[in-house]
Amino acid sequence: MNEGIVITGIGVVSSIGIGRDQFCRGLRKGADGISKINNFDTSPFRAKKGGRVTGFNAREFISVSKIRKLDRASQLAIAASRLALEDGELTINHSNSSEIGIILGSGFCGLANSEAFHRGQVLRGFLEMNPMLFPNTVPNAATGNVSIELGIKGVNSTVVQSYCTAETAVIMACDLLVEGRAEAILTGGVDELSEILFRAYTALNLLSHDRGDGEMSRPYDLKRNGIVLGEGAAIIVLEREGHALSRGIRPYGRILGYSIVGGSHDDSPWGDMERAIKLAMEGIHGGRKIDYISGAGNSSKRVDEMEARAIKGAFPSDYQAIPISSVKSMIGESIASGGMRMAANAIILQEGFIPPTIHYQTPDPRCDLNYVVNRSVEREVNTILHNGISPDGTYASILLGR
């Protein structure tokens, strides 16, 4: 990293809180954002729970006439973006709009909207199709709508890379800032939880369900039996350090290094995660120790175990000393959940505490790291290693510092 990149604002619309302060409180107390789904009928499914954002009132962020034209993902993203700009005290106007960019990650973006559009196409035929729904079927609907709503005219992109989607967005934003393509970039992730997504995850047998020990997101616990779907939008403002200093804002922290690599598709995928960690750490000078690992653990057998092996490989002598936890225990998993975790990282650096992995009861001998469980720990955190794991073969690491 030859140009300092800092985090100057965060905006979160999550199942454990809307806005920086609520989200921070939720992390600190180990809030559980997962509850029984009541906005669609879950009786056909074994799983019943999700990390749905409740208490979100789009009218607080978007004019009424526009709301009905926007899919839920776009609404969540606009709200989070407004909160992030406010938090980062960044105003977009005519003179700076082309220097401010936006790079968001999203899995399926406004999938409920796409589903409604396709349902009309299949059941009612062409003449009854609602053309109003089509524009927001594109995966960049949220990014497009945020840029239109907030007047962001700089670099603009949307990315997806399985469960490393938000990490890809953050990394691309860093690269574009270092290359001087923007002064500040809104980045992060947005996903919505819809019935069709729930159905698809059920069909692919990926969701946790109650087998006598409850249905929950419990990363690293021996009894974990799949993910719990979450949703929300988390936007962070990344900025060139010089630009941030010139407008007198105190950053949450800085990006010290990062990497994203593909899997070798051999018998030891944890080796690829280990490679990503080592590449990300090349950027820092020796001696700086990792105070906290933001875990990718998502309550699936495979990812949690793979992460443990990778961390042991990357830190063979001191892995027992580094605290690690997974925020996904509170908010669940989604394709771009890394955005939420990046926002959490910013708060952790600023506030000095380690959020817990909640619902943790039974240790798994294959997941034998220094997990912070059930209660947060107050402690100064100067350096965070953030990992992203996609079982399809993408591994990301982002190193953050105070």
Partner: protein
Amino acid sequence: MVITGLGAFTAIGKNVLQFHRSLEEGRAGIDEVTLFEVSKYPSKIAAQIRDYDPSDYFDRNELRRLSRTDQFAIIASREALRNAGIEVNGGAHPEIGVFLGAGAGGMFSAEQYHRDLLLKGRERPRPSLLVPFLPSYSTDAVARRFRLCGPKGTITTACSSSATSIGYSADLIKRGYADVMICGGSDAMSELTFGGFNALRVVDTAPCKPFDARRMGMTLGEGAGILVLEELNRARARGASIHAEFLGYCTIGEAYHMTAPEPSGTEQSRTMREAMREAHIGPDEVDYISAHGTGTPINDRVETLAIKDALGERAYSVPVSSIKSMVGHCLGSAGAIEATAAVLSITRDFIPPTVNYRERDEACDLDYVPGQSRRQRVETVLSNSFAFGGNCTTIVMRKYE
């Protein structure tokens, strides 16, 4: 930064050689859609890839988990790697990354699942149809197939995705994260997209006629275009043949409207100017503009305004053409297929035509290379891609000598 490999899989050619021949001969690949039932739609045509039997390219086991989009991506990537002289047999390649642009991704498979679900009620549709739904699955499929384990990602900005993937891939190499990048994109037709563009009434019922006064809209297409990027010194050291230099790019948001371009063309012009600035070229050095040229009345008018704004007087003496008149609008892969054509125009010194162009529109008063390709020395090309969400990308390439 140089381009050392090309791969193309399109309705006008299933490899770069055929694709190039069709571009030179001005042959379109537009015909009635057979991939799904189209009788109910106003438009019944597209540049669908025909005479394609996946089992010619893949074994049955492999096919079960690959969408049509993934298949095109792998076929074109294989050609591009071979064309670049890069051996990928066996070992893992951490020095090679994959960053593709995507559009509908596995929608064609996922919509079959959804249709079965809606129409057949209780019978359970095949879950495997959902596996390749996420657009990044194509990138994963290419990386897995050739064991490319450098940096990886997927751009999903609709019609500009694959152009942006080329630009950002160049940044990744420049920043030292990879020696070689496989970039570009793939996209297959889906009924959702076909119905959607029909519902928006932006599709021509006859083959599209970009920039023509009679133009009524676009013609959809599908296919893949893949480019191999690497640094000049590395390419030279390994004795690779160099197709062209990649000079720079710009990608911005118009912040105007989800589907309509900013009508004065100011934002599109800014994209082209910024790309030229990064490439250190002036308007007088531009020899050819590969237009976004979708064939909708407003898009072609605004793009023309933007070209005139960005190039000034020079605009009137630069050939501008839209190969969408032959290959259709391939959405997620459009920018990459057009970039591939642009590289061919540089290496073969010709301008691909805008076929079907006959009647001049007063609002579109540039040289659109009607009907037939033109033999002409081509050094520097701009290629434009504009997308839903107000996303604009321009890339710049130049002859390497």
